[in-house]
């Protein structure tokens, strides 16, 4: 059935109705482009998000006063270490710094070359950092978003932090984080513990919080209870809490996402309905002509199946390729804000190319096949009618 002549004439008949073909193709490509863009953005973001979550430590202990997190005494670490089930306890130094000229916030994270290990979060951040540059001099390592903002204010080689009552600390910019870690490092500045203590006014005997590593996850609840007994004003967060918090952040965008997702979906349904419910007079006439000259019903249907599959597949490919270019090269102008509203310097996040093959396969199934099958229904209806009734 599918010999060269059949394919050749099917294509010829298809291209003979150019206007209709172009209209359907354009509409279908646009719909697939929108859907595919959403999937690519969501996948890229959630991939980065998963990476971030995986690196989180088991328990975070913060010192709370009046419902507000304040610096945590380092003496807590020794007491927590004595609790059974606790592997290690690391103090962390971080905080936000307001960059007045850029009217935006940076996240400062302190680290020390002398410490052999860090909690997994800091470890994931400093992966890829060139430590040699830190050995020779004090300096900062910045996220790509920070770098961009600083450059726009002519801070290309160094940056000056203001602290205390008008004092200034100028540190050279030693490098920047990679694009791969951009979701977590975009608004981040990595600097020495001495510098961050100075800028954020953190005493030597304090840290921003403590991280306790619990080798056996089953003991997490017991350890948390014991920490709370020791320090009643401590807030203890574990990875589950963090996941819930982050999920909540992304859920804010769920409604909008759903609304925008619904739009092309409704358009699809309208297109299907049009395809199923009606065949143009020209289309009915073509079917009747082919039936009159001896084409069997399966052959007529194969012809339309081939045409519809060809258009839908082509539209799918073009739509997906365009969305790939739109999301990963142009960084989804207009749509990216929908996903990235909550972080500092969020607008500068770059989507890293991740191809969700499974999702794209499902998209192919739910877009190409229904369209192809929907287009055959009116053809079947026209095929079973006497050709003479249509042609008379």
């Amino acid at each position: 059935m599918f010999n060269i002549s059949f394919i050749k004439f099917s294509l010829k008949m298809m291209f003979s109705s150019r206007r209709e073909l172009i209209a359907v193709f354009m509409l279908y490509t646009c719909l697939i482009f929108i859907l595919s863009s959403f999937f690519l953005m969501k996948n890229s973001l959630f991939n980065a998000f998963d990476h971030l979550i995986d690196g989180k430590p088991e328990l975070i202990i913060q010192n709370m006063q009046g419902g507000k997190a304040v610096n945590t005494p380092l003496s807590w670490a020794d007491e927590i270490l004595e609790i059974d089930g606790v592997g290690q306890v690391y103090p962390r130094l971080f905080g936000t710094y307001f960059f007045e000229q850029g009217r935006d916030f940076f996240t400062l994270v302190g680290f020390s070359l002398l410490e052999e290990s860090y909690d997994s979060e800091i470890q994931s951040i400093i992966d890829g950092v060139d430590f040699k540059s830190f050995q020779n001099q004090e300096g900062i390592y910045v996220g790509l978003g920070v770098q961009k903002l600083l450059r726009s204010h002519y801070y290309t080689d160094s940056f000056s932090f203001f602290y205390g009552s008008g004092k200034k600390l100028t540190l050279p910019i030693l490098g920047h984080f990679s694009k791969k870690s951009q979701l977590e490092t975009n608004d981040l500045i990595l600097l020495s513990k001495q510098s961050i203590r100075l800028i954020l006014n953190i005493d030597e005997n304090f840290a921003t919080d403590l991280v306790a590593n619990i080798p056996n996850p089953a003991e997490k609840v017991i350890v948390a209870t014991k920490v709370r007994e020791l320090f009643p004003n401590a807030r203890i967060l574990d990875i589950v809490d963090l996941k819930v918090n982050m999920k909540r952040n992304y859920d804010i965008f769920g409604g909008t996402f759903f609304a925008l997702f619904l739009l092309p979906l409704v358009a699809f349904l309208i297109l299907f309905y049009t395809k199923i419910s009606a065949l143009t007079e020209k289309g009915r006439s073509q079917v009747a002509i082919l039936r009159a000259i001896g084409w069997e019903i399966p052959l007529v249907m194969s012809w339309h199946l081939f045409n519809a599959f060809f258009i839908a597949s082509l539209a799918y490919m073009v739509g997906v390729l365009c969305s790939y270019f739109f999301v990963f090269t142009l960084n989804a102008p207009g749509l990216s804000q929908l996903f990235l509203g909550q972080a500092n310097l969020s607008a500068s996040f770059n989507f890293t190319a991740v191809i969700p093959l499974e999702t794209l396969f499902y998209l192919f199934i739910v877009t190409v096949f229904p369209y192809t099958l929907a287009s055959v229904i009116p053809i079947y209806r026209s095929s079973i009618v006497s050709p003479l009734e249509v042609l008379r």
């Binding site: 060269i4 059949f6 002509i289 039936r291 009159a292 000259i293 001896g294 084409w295 003479l388």
Partner: protein, 224 residues
């Protein structure tokens, strides 16, 4: 060759019963004859052609063509019958307007799974027969009425059918085109093809080429 017995064809009248469109007790058409079917509008001429051509199945009775009872064939064999034994020619040509002359004619060969060169050879042959040589690449909608009917005729005869069925084939043609078409129909008839023409055109009436004339009224054959 064509034997019709107790033929009845009715359709639903949309309310309670069925409306009888045609009732023919007996009708025989011999092989190789040139038959004219006439009668007033709505007398059942086209319906009779559709039943002989395998486009409709009768409500009752039999239509036998070349000793084969086509009224009882499945869709598969009925399509094969239309493809191999019947050629249709319509009043409004019914070509696919945006396709070329070549493509319109070749469409009738697609079900045969022929190679493109074989298909090309056969199209060239019929194009020459109907006098459209050199116009193979013309788009159908750009042809004159006479040329369009010639193209439709080429499509109808490309499978070398036993019967050529023409429903008002000259109604939209000028006099020269009518004569040219009549000449072509006659030449095919002389080569053994049975030609059935439904027409009110005086060109066919009392023409010596007509072997048999069937007059219909209210779905019945009233004169042979």
């Amino acid at each position: 060759m064509i034997k019709i017995n107790d033929l009845e064809f009715s359709v639903s009248d949309g309310r309670h019963g069925r409306k009888k469109l045609i009732q023919v007790d007996e009708l025989n058409i011999s092989q190789g004859s040139f038959v004219l079917i006439t009668g007033e509008t709505g007398s059942g001429k086209s319906t009779l052609l559709s039943l002989i051509g395998g486009m409709n199945r009768p409500t009752s009775g039999t239509v036998k063509v070349l000793d084969r009872t086509i009224s009882k064939l499945s869709d598969h064999f009925l399509s094969e019958y239309r493809r191999e034994q019947i050629g249709f020619l319509f009043q409004f040509f019914h070509l696919i307007d945006n396709l070329s002359v070549f493509d319109n004619i070749a469409l009738a060969l697609v079900p045969y799974n022929l190679s493109f060169s074989a298909l090309q050879q056969r199209v060239e042959l019929v194009v020459k027969q109907v006098g459209l040589k050199g116009k193979e690449d013309f788009i159908a909608q750009n042809l004159s009425g006479g040329e369009r009917q010639k193209c439709a005729l080429a499509r109808a005869i490309i499978n070398n059918p036993s019967i050529l069925i023409a429903d008002e084939p000259t109604a939209n043609l000028d006099k020269a085109a009518k004569l040219a078409l009549l000449e072509l129909l006659y030449s095919f008839n002389r080569n053994g093809m049975t030609v059935l023409v439904v027409s009110h055109d005086p060109l066919f009436e009392d023409n010596a080429i007509i072997d048999q004339k069937i007059v219909m009224s209210s779905g019945k054959v009233i004169a042979l």
